[in-house]
Structures are given as C-alpha cells and as structure tokens.
C-alpha cells in the first residue's frame, strides 16, 4: 500500500483527531492564561496568604509531571466526589499544569516593567486596579509574549498526553491506526507532521502577529 492510499484511507480519522486536539488546545490555553494571570498577580500580592496559595499551586504543578497530574485528576479525584469526564479532565490537567509555568512568566513580566511607570501611575492618583489594568499589564504583556509563544508550543505538545486517558485526539487516532494497519512509520509519522504543521504554521505565526499588534498598540513598533 502506498503512502497516498494510506492517507486516503485514514484521512477522516486524522481529521477527527486533529479537531479534538484543536479543541483541547484552545480550552487548555484559555484555562492556562486565566490561571497564569491569577496566580502571577497573587504571587505579587501584599497579602501573605495570597502569595502562599499561589506559591503552593505553582510549585506543586511545576514540581510533578503532567502525566501524574492527569492520572490523579482522572483516577483519584472521583474518590473525593469530583468526577470529570475524560475530555474535561484532559484540558483541565493541561491547563492547570501550563498555567503554573505561565504564572512565573506573568510574575517576571510584571516585575520587568520599570519602576517609574508604577510611580507615574501613582502620581496621577490612579486606583491600584486601574494602574495594573491600564499601565502595568499592557507593558508586561509585551515583555512576556515571546516566552508565551514557547509555552503555547509546550501546551500543544502537552495535549497529546490526554490520549492516555482515551480522549480521542490526534495521538489517540494515530495509535488506533497503528493498531489496525501495523504501518507504524506512516501512522505515527503522519501525526508528527500534523503536530509540526500546526505548531509551525499556525501557533508560532499567530504569536508573532500578536507580538507585532501589541508592540504597535504601545507605540513600540
């Protein structure tokens, strides 16, 4: 069987898998950004309890592996009365894990904003919320966008692990196709290429575009 025949035969399954992977990617990315912002800001809070809570979250999720967190959420959490469907467990675990890495980026980004900006906002008697939202965060965002680009690639790769709790993503379909055709090089190779194309032609250019837009908005283009 030539590679083209193989592709023609299995294209629908790869497509289904890719769509699930894209859904997992977007949902976990949104969760990760939300958690990263929350935990990153909490880490800089004046309140010790807030700092401590964020610190515990960050250290636990950065200190253990995503796979352990995924299994824990899927197999152990039900024992505590919280049962998540595999699809939800998948993106929740990925989002929690990458959110912890993102929190450190947020913290670093905010700390990299020059002190004069804080003082100027203070001198203009802006409220703390307004100062953060209008002055500090936009500049911090610009500083931290390049590492966020890398993080988004890590996130995309991390979604492949949800196949291990039987979410029917691209990785899962590749395994199934390998099991039914025994053409491992084609089955896994095709999936590798799809991941690569998605990362290289969609995620990375989008993040670059975002960097340019942000730079222009802040008049730094």
């Amino acid at each position: 069987m030539s590679y083209w025949e193989f592709l023609a035969q299995n294209a629908p399954r790869y497509l289904d898998g890719t769509l699930v992977t894209i859904a997992q990617f977007f949902l976990s990315a949104m969760l990760a950004v939300l958690l990263a912002l929350t935990a990153g800001l909490m880490k800089l809070s004046r309140n010790a309890a807030m700092r401590w809570t964020a610190g515990v979250y960050i250290e636990i999720f950065r200190g253990t592996s995503l796979l352990i967190q995924l299994y824990w959420i899927f197999f152990v959490l039900p024992l505590f009365g919280v049962t998540l469907d595999k699809f939800y467990a998948g993106f929740v675990a990925v989002g929690l894990n990458l959110g912890a890495y993102g929190a450190e980026l947020v913290r670093g980004g905010i700390q990299s904003v020059p002190k004069g900006q804080w003082e100027a906002a203070y001198a203009l008697s802006m409220s703390p919320a307004k100062r953060m939202y209008r002055i500090i965060l936009p500049q911090a965002l610009l500083n931290m966008l390049p590492p966020w680009g890398n993080l988004m690639i890590e996130l995309l790769k991390a979604t492949a692990l949800v196949s291990l709790i039987s979410v029917t993503d691209l990785m899962f379909e590749a395994k199934q196709i390998n099991g039914s055709t025994f053409l491992s090089a084609q089955a896994f190779g095709t999936a590798l290429i799809i991941y690569y194309v998605f990362a290289r032609l969609i995620v990375t250019p989008f993040m670059r575009w975002l960097e340019r837009v942000m730079a222009r908005k802040l008049g730094r283009a």
Partner: protein, 222 residues
Amino acid sequence: MFDWRWDFAFEILPRLLQATLNTLAAAGVGYGIAVVLGLVFALAQRTPSRIVTMVVRECVEFIRSTPLVLQIFFVFFVGPQFGIRLSPWVAGMIAIGLHYSAYLSEVYRGGLDSVPKGQWEACTALNLSTTKTYFRVIIPQALPPSLAGMGNYLVGIFKDTPMLSVIGVAELMQAANAIGGSTYRYLEPYTMVGIIFLAISLPAAGMIKLFEAWVRKKLGMN
C-alpha cells in the same frame, strides 16, 4: 468518601522506591545522550554550509514542536516494521535523549553566541585549528552561561520520564499503574508518585541554582 490506607501505602512504598531508582537512571542516561547529541546539533548549525545549517535547524524545530509521547511511540514501533527490534528501554532512551538534545542544542547555541567575537579572532590570529578553537577556547567560555538552561532541562527530563511508561519502561509511573491495576486502589500509588516527584524535583531545582552561583563565582563572573 476518602480513605487513605497507611498500611497499604507502606506496603507499596518499597516497590515505588525501587522504581524511583529506574526513573533516576532513565533521566540520567537520557540526559547523557542529550548533552552530547545537543552539542552535535549546536555545532552542526555553525558549519560554513548553509544547507547543513538549514536542515539541522529544521530538524531541531521539528523535534521541539512535536509531542515527546508521540516520538516515544514512533521510535518504539517503527523499528520492528523494518526488522529492528528495540527494547522499551533502548527505544525510550533514544526518544527522550533525542527530544532533549534539541532543547539543549538551543541552550548551547545561546551560550556559543554569547562568546565575544574577539575570542574567535584571537584564535585565528594564533593559528589554532578549528577543533582546538572550539574545545580549548570557545566551549569553556560558552559553558557558564549555558548552565542555567542545562540545569532546568535536567529537572525537565526527570519530570518527563513518566511518559516512558507508555511503552512499558519499568519506571515509577509504570509501577504505580501496575499497583493500581492489580489492587484497584489508585489514591495511594498516584499520590505517592506525585510526592516522590516533588521531593526530588524541588530540592534538585534549588541545588542547581546553588551550583550555578558557585560556578559563576569560581569563574570570577558577577
């Protein structure tokens, strides 16, 4: 709703600790491969040939932007298709070593780029061979700025070893899965695996920071 059984936890502890040794061995061997292969990738991007640079660059990007777990499957299953049988350990070490070599090559690249141009010119002026230039002058200076990244990826590779369980490498995650599968108790094994990982990766990250500071001090930087 929640019954943590200490007797069960203590019963499985020796088995998990035994598997921890395998996890550490896997991380160590994988890292060893990555350190060497990463240098090859980094140096290959500095040859005069533009085509070699481009091809190697694209390979590094490819490895970096595709999932490790998929690469592990790929290496493990593709061999037998062409008549090469790899044991789970060998396939796992190749996959994880290759994956991290792509990351380390980026770290080295940054380190090599940070060596001032004058050092290269001085080597040319002294008529040193390329090998001597690299191994006696450039790499020793490129190493200290690379140490932080190298340390982070040592912890990173350790945290990625659970993925080796998917092809049956007998490491920590595999042991926890086996215990869970035979006793139907998942709470203790998975929680303990998490704690073991925390107990190793947090001090390791701290120690790497100290080591880095020590090297910088020894070399008279900062």
